[in-house]
């Protein structure tokens, strides 16, 4: 008989189900068309005191027929301008926390145009596994009707070519061509820095999604 005390028993993760077409009711009720909570989570990550370069992340999510999807919900999670996450597991004590930056935001694609956007700051470089620095990046999670389990990807920056070339995660993608799907293109619109990041769910140009 096995020793019951030392035999590890693990629970099974709860199974995922699609967020469905009405995800906005729960996670972004104003977009669903009504006002219920006093405090709403949204797509603006910065306040007046947040340190760092102001940027806008903007894009669309496109399905396998080339159609822009208009009922997507996206979340991002990122380090602050110094490259530190606002979370107790981040022990990079040499980098300051920014009390005015949580580093998390939630956005929906517009019901008419399909465009989503985040107002944030450009993150600094975070230390990776085995002490290898990662290029500045933003973690993104995407759910929608027809997506059975949330999709995880990363947004890197087109003006960080050198850091991107040394990034351990980008380099772990065997197909060099596919790495480009994770690079947001920098431009300036009306004096604001905009990074365009379109997500292709299914195509020759399919975005790299990670099994984290």
């Amino acid at each position: 008989m096995s020793n019951q005390i030392s035999t590890p028993v693990y629970l099974k993760e709860t199974a995922s189900q699609t967020a469905g077409p009405y995800v906005h009711i729960g996670l972004a009720p104003k977009q669903a068309g009504f006002d219920i909570f006093e405090n709403n989570f949204g797509n603006v990550l910065v306040g007046p005191d947040t340190k760092g370069e102001r940027i806008r992340i903007e894009g669309r999510v496109i399905d396998g027929s080339g159609a822009v999807i208009k009922d997507v919900l996206l979340e991002i999670w990122q380090a602050n301008a110094a490259g530190r996450y606002n979370h107790p597991a981040d022990k990079q004590e040499d980098k300051p926390l920014d009390p005015s930056f949580r580093g998390w935001g939630r956005a929906c694609s517009d019901f008419d145009t399909g465009v989503y956007s985040f107002e944030t700051i450009k993150p600094g470089s975070v230390i990776g596994r085995n002490g290898v620095p990662m290029a500045p990046h933003i973690n993104m999670w995407i759910v929608a009707r027809g997506i059975n389990i949330g999709l995880s990807t990363r947004i890197y920056f087109s003006d960080e070519a050198e850091a991107n070339a040394a990034d351990p995660v980008l380099n772990s993608i065997e197909w060099v061509e596919r790495r480009k799907t994770l690079i947001a293109q920098r431009s300036e619109k009306n004096g604001q820095v905009v990074y365009t990041f379109d997500v292709y769910l299914q195509s020759d140009n399919e975005t790299v999604f990670f099994d984290l």
């Binding site: 693990y10 629970l11 099974k12 993760e13 709860t14 199974a15 995922s16 189900q17 699609t18 967020a19 469905g20 077409p21 009405y22 995800v23 009711i25 729960g26 996670l27 669903a32 068309g33 009504f34 219920i36 909570f37 006093e38 399905d63 396998g64 999807i69 999670w77 380090a79 606002n86 979370h87 597991a89 981040d90 022990k91 949580r102 019901f111 975070v126 230390i127 990776g128 596994r129 990662m134 990046h137 973690n139 999670w141 009707r145 027809g146 997506i147 059975n148 389990i149 949330g150 995880s152 995660v169 772990s172 596919r178 769910l201 299914q202 790299v208 999604f209 990670f210 099994d211 984290l212």
Partner: protein, 246 residues
């Protein structure tokens, strides 16, 4: 000496056999919204083990009371229910301070959403969303009315079983999870193409809330119990060993 694993408290590899695959043609919308390339597997870094933290003062007093949080000139129509349970990780540890968000249709199967055009009636006193943080034991609860089933555009006579949508943010961003809770005894469950996107019977059973008579509020509400498991990490595994060491 710390190994990189201890340093980052990496998550256990996700068991994809208990989750629906991306491409499930019985659920038609998944066909054009599913990736064709394999996911790229990466071990946890700080980007995955960290995640947003929330505090109680960000939520309102009625945010977990769907019976009252949109009541205008009366109470919502429907069976009054309490839903409660524990959020744990794969190690069995309670997950504290997890953000649990829920949304649902009203008793007639209609969502308060500008894109829902089902003939079922809107309930003027029901919004259909709530949110809460788990306590130090990983416990959560909310009050609502039981959602009704409704037809949807898939096959002609596909009806969704009564369900409540859940979104859970635990500690790390890689634990992010969205799912749906069903109700014990609902005859629509085994026919639902969205339920059937999950290829594992035991995993499906894990989404069905059990009626919990011990938690009924006398002459007021029925109760359902729904426990949630999020991914475990090696860091919390070590915590467990230390706590259990003799």
């Amino acid at each position: 000496m710390k190994t990189p694993t201890e340093q980052f408290g990496e998550f256990f590899q996700r068991d994809r056999t208990i989750h629906p695959p991306a491409y499930t043609p019985g659920y038609k919308t998944s066909v054009l919204r599913s990736h064709r390339n394999a996911l790229i597997s990466i071990p946890s870094s700080l980007s995955e083990v960290t995640g947003p933290q929330f505090s109680a003062d960000e939520l309102g007093a009625l945010d977990n009371d769907l019976i009252l949080n949109y009541a205008k000139d009366g109470l919502p129509v429907g069976e009054r229910i309490l839903v409660h349970g524990f959020v744990r990780d794969e190690n069995g540890n309670p997950v504290r301070n997890a953000l649990v968000e829920v949304w649902q249709a009203n008793a007639s199967g209609r969502y308060r959403h500008k894109n829902d055009r089902y003939i079922g009636a809107i309930d003027p006193n029901f919004g259909g969303c709530g949110r809460m943080l788990t306590d130090e034991n990983g416990y959560y609860f909310y009050r609502t009315v039981k959602p009704g089933p409704y037809p949807w555009r898939n096959q002609i006579n596909d009806w969704r079983p009564s369900h409540i949508h859940y979104s859970i943010q635990a500690s790390g961003f890689a634990q992010r999870l969205i799912t749906q809770m069903y109700f014990e005894g609902d005859p629509l469950i085994p026919h639902c193409p969205i339920v059937r996107s999950i290829p594992n019977e035991e995993a499906i059973r894990g989404l069905i809330a059990q009626m919990d008579r011990n938690s009924f509020a006398a002459l007021d509400s029925m109760a359902y119990r729904f426990d949630i498991v999020v991914r475990g990490s090696r860091a919390t595994l070590f915590e467990n060993y230390i706590q259990g060491a003799k």
